[in-house]
């Protein structure tokens, strides 16, 4: 492949969403030769769809708010497998990161005193769960993700970041020592394949909700970074942990923010009963998302669902009045009218739990460095590889993420990765160059698709994959179903390995991109399935009929999926925050 063009950077950031742009901004300001490589123009990234806000103890709604309370909520929300050093870092650094966003121009909504508006979200408390509901989610109406992503893009423009927009990263390039030294990328517009060399490669590729048939995620959320890392042989952490958001619009899957319930909306069953009062007497509709989603499914399974098929429930907002809806939830009013044909000021919105967020991902430390395990089970840094945002599992979300913690994760750990890489570059990074055969190895699957001359079509295989995941790895799980699912996925993998790319043209060939994405969906789906099958307990979002209880004796651990052997190992959860006492595992109720 010696005739392939190559580009060289100090750092390459794959993904132009919130975490990638935040990391890029840090590096661009430092003057390092940095590029953001994104398969879509950055403001088309999925961060743009985040609605309700960014949770952070900036002490605006409550001047006495404390980041330690936020940390407690986060650890509890994650059902105690969030790493406490990481949660501590996120919650304590958070205010700085949020104020920076405001200084960059993010148009936050405001209180009368001019400070940033904060609304209540699920799983939030004051005084370590003892002081009632907190209001800790900073919001720009219900378009916080849009406002955040555009602000970050704008500030990258201001700082002259290099963008490789509509470039698709195909696979990581590793040198003879196993260090990551760049990637193979496809310039979608021209079809040119380029070897991108870098001293630091940051995977900021976001989530992979498209492994499920029904998801709030954008069509582009195909787990490209996860797929690349798995193919490169790196382990994945807590992949069984997928969040089902309680309020996806029935039928369409589009998200309705938890902020609706934060502003006073609530869920009702077919009898008009506010059923969350039974499941979570204190927090009610603002319990953890896993708890609310399960309660909704229970209502439906017990025959109290709404509609002809009794297969959804209603989110009631009409009592909030048009003024609150127009001021605080204008985007929701729009989405409801478009996708549910309902005016929430008059009628309730039909909603159903919908795949929303991947808590698992590439294991990293708080600096964004990817971590693997050596033969003795000790953590070992992967040279050259970094991850942040949803693609990473740092892990602040544990087994269940709290609403509003995703945007905070993006900016705090994007920033942290950028700062760390800047320091490392200053100290000097010198890895062995990749050889031609190293590059060829990374070209393998692209060549496979390009040379395919018959076989099944990509859209059909994708639909099958999504159905398998939807049916066997949803809100509730059980052994036999999952075993069947794992088997079907193994067969599907064979078929995908022989699938056909019909269109071999170069200019803006979206069929090729979708074929490459399918490989990634396959990797993510299999990692999810095997991890879910092997974690024999119920914790956070991972809920099993056959193992209904949390098992702290055996599973107060991260799961670690090894792709070569397709086996699940374990990794210790961090229980040693630096400045606060450990939050010991307790029974989790709301």
């Amino acid at each position: 492949m010696s005739n392939m063009r190559s580009l060289s950077f100090d750092a390459i950031i794959i993904g132009g969403g919130g975490s990638g742009l935040r990391a890029a901004l840090e590096l661009a300001k430092s003057g390092k030769k940095t590029a953001v490589l994104s398969k879509v123009f950055p403001t088309r990234s999925h961060t743009v769809s985040a609605q309700g806000g960014i949770t952070c103890a900036i002490a605006s709604a409550d001047p006495n708010d404390d980041w330690r309370w936020h940390m407690y909520d986060t650890v509890k929300g994650g059902d105690y497998i969030a790493d406490q050093d990481a949660a501590e870092y996120m919650c304590s650094e958070g205010p700085k990161a949020v104020f920076e966003l405001e200084h960059m121009g993010l148009p936050f909504s405001r209180f009368d005193n001019g400070r940033i508006y904060q609304r209540p979200f699920g799983g939030q408390s004051k005084n370590f769960g003892e002081g009632g509901q907190a209001a800790r989610t900073c919001a720009a109406a219900d378009r916080t993700g849009h406002a955040l992503l555009h602000t970050l893009y704008q500030n990258n423009l201001k700082n002259n970041t290099t963008f490789l927009n509509e470039w698709y990263a195909v696979d990581l390039v590793k040198n003879a020592n196993g260090d990551v030294v760049g990637c193979i990328a496809l310039d979608i517009e021209t079809g040119e394949v380029v070897h991108v060399k870098s001293k630091a490669t940051v995977l900021a590729t976001g989530g992979a909700g498209r492994i499920y048939a029904s998801t709030t995620n954008a069509l582009i959320n195909t787990g490209d970074g996860i797929g690349m890392a798995l193919r490169a042989g790196f382990p994945m952490q807590d992949m069984e942990m997928w969040q089902f958001h309680p309020t996806g619009i029935y039928g369409a899957g589009t998200l309705v923010t938890e902020g609706c319930r934060g502003e006073g909306g609530y869920l009702v069953n077919k009898d008009g009963e506010r059923f969350m009062e039974r499941y979570a007497p204190n927090a009610k509709d603002l319990a953890g998302r896993d708890v609310v989603a399960r309660s909704m499914v229970m209502e439906i399974l017990e025959g109290r669902g709404c509609g002809d098929k009794a297969d959804h429930v209603f989110l009631k907002l009409d009592h909030l009045g048009e003024e609150v809806l127009g001021k605080r939830l204008p985007g929701i009013v729009e989405l409801s009218k478009t996708f549910a044909h309902v005016d929430p000021a008059k009628e309730p919105i039909p909603v159903v739990p919908t795949c929303h967020y991947m808590m698992g991902g590439i294991p990293t430390n708080v600096h964004g460095q990817a971590v693997m395990q050596d033969a003795d089970g000790n953590d070992q840094i992967v040279n050259g590889l970094f991850a942040c945002g949803e693609a990473a599992c740092v892990s602040v979300h544990g087994a269940n993420r709290l609403g509003g913690n995703s945007l905070l994760d993006l900016v705090v750990f994007g920033r942290a990765a950028g700062m760390f890489i800047e320091g490392a570059l200053n100290e000097g990074i010198d890895y062995l160059e990749a050889t031609d055969s190293d590059v060829d190895a990374a070209m393998k699957r692209m060549s496979r698709w390009n040379e395919s001359n018959g076989g099944e079509s990509v859209p059909d295989l994708k639909a099958e994959l999504q159905d398998i995941m939807q049916n066997a790895f949803g809100v509730f799980r059980q052994e036999d179903n999952m075993q069947e699912g794992v088997k079907k996925l193994a067969e599907l993998r064979e078929r995908i390995a022989n699938a056909h790319l019909g269109d071999k043209s170069n200019a803006f060939n979206t069929a090729r991109v979708e074929a490459l994405e399918l490989d990634n969906l396959m990797e993510v789906a299999e990692a999810t399935a095997i991890s879910a099958l092997e974690r024999k307990e119920s914790r956070g979002a991972h809920s099993r009929y056959d193992y209904p209880d949390r098992d702290d004796v055996n599973w107060l651990k991260h799961s670690l999926y090894f792709p070569a052997e397709k086996v699940l190992g374990k990794r210790d959860v961090n229980f040693t925050p630096k400045t606060v006492d450990t939050f010991e595992p307790k029974v989790r109720t709301y």
Binding site: R44, G105, G114, L219, E334, T338, F339, S505
Partner: protein
């Protein structure tokens, strides 16, 4: 009758000497699909069809296109809103170079956006917390910051068609005013100075196509009017 006639603009620079319209019969099963859903169905018939899409809920701005003569976002435009006589004609956004099929080169559109310096400028050292802003001042940004850069407005604007290199266009000007209107921004006079020439702002003829097509219900013409007022006030 649930078979929809769909006519799509096709052009592949590697194989086509000229663009052409390709005809599809799409079975909608009687559902009021979004135009984007229909495009997915046509792509199942012909995988070589190219179009951009991402969020599929009207917030990312990827799938701006011309549907039966009017610009809009395919993902939030139901068939019932655009289809006439059971026929749907899909063309790329007008006025920009076509890369392939419905994918246009948005380079000049982005360049005009960058030209207005779309970022907050404030050299006063920031406080340890956020800069304060009253709800009234924050309200002034409503209807401005929500732009998704889909280019539906600028590519429906005859003034932009004529002078895409010199007239900033409705999208860029809307963002320009978003920063002019922000109580936290200190670069008002520099921003206005950049817009004083006869083209940047004053090529707007108030045709208001931008307002008619904006999928987010924003009003670039009003923002342009405000900039004009500021420019005139500055000149006297």
């Amino acid at each position: 009758m649930s078979t929809l006639q769909v006519s799509v603009y096709r052009y592949n620079p590697e194989t086509d000497s000229a663009p052409y319209m390709q005809e599809f019969q799409v079975d909608t099963k009687g559902r009021d699909l979004m135009v984007l859903d229909v495009l997915h169905l046509t792509k199942e018939q012909d995988s070589s069809m190219a179009y951009r899409r991402s969020c599929r809920e009207g917030v990312c701005g990827s799938d701006g296109m011309n549907m039966n003569g009017k610009n809009g976002l395919a993902c939030i435009t139901p068939l019932s809103e655009v289809v006439k006589n059971n026929k749907l004609v899909l063309r790329p956004l007008p006025g920009l170079p076509v890369i392939r099929d419905l994918v246009v080169d948005m380079g000049i559109f982005y360049k005009q956006y960058e030209r207005i310096q779309p970022y907050l400028q404030n050299d006063t050292p920031a406080p340890a917390i956020e800069r304060l802003q009253s709800p009234e001042d924050r309200d002034k940004l409503d209807g401005l910051y929500e732009c998704i850069l889909c280019a539906c407005c600028s590519t429906s604007c005859p003034s932009f068609w004529w002078n895409p290199d010199k007239f900033v266009g409705p999208a860029g000007l809307l963002q320009s005013y978003r920063f002019l209107a922000d109580s936290r921004d200190e670069a008002t006079s520099e921003r206005l100075a950049e817009l004083e020439d006869p083209f940047s702002v004053f090529r707007c003829r108030g045709i208001m196509n931008c307002v008619a097509v904006c999928p987010k219900g924003l009003n670039p013409t009003r923002a342009i009017g405000k900039i004009r007022e500021m420019l005139l006030a500055n000149a006297t």
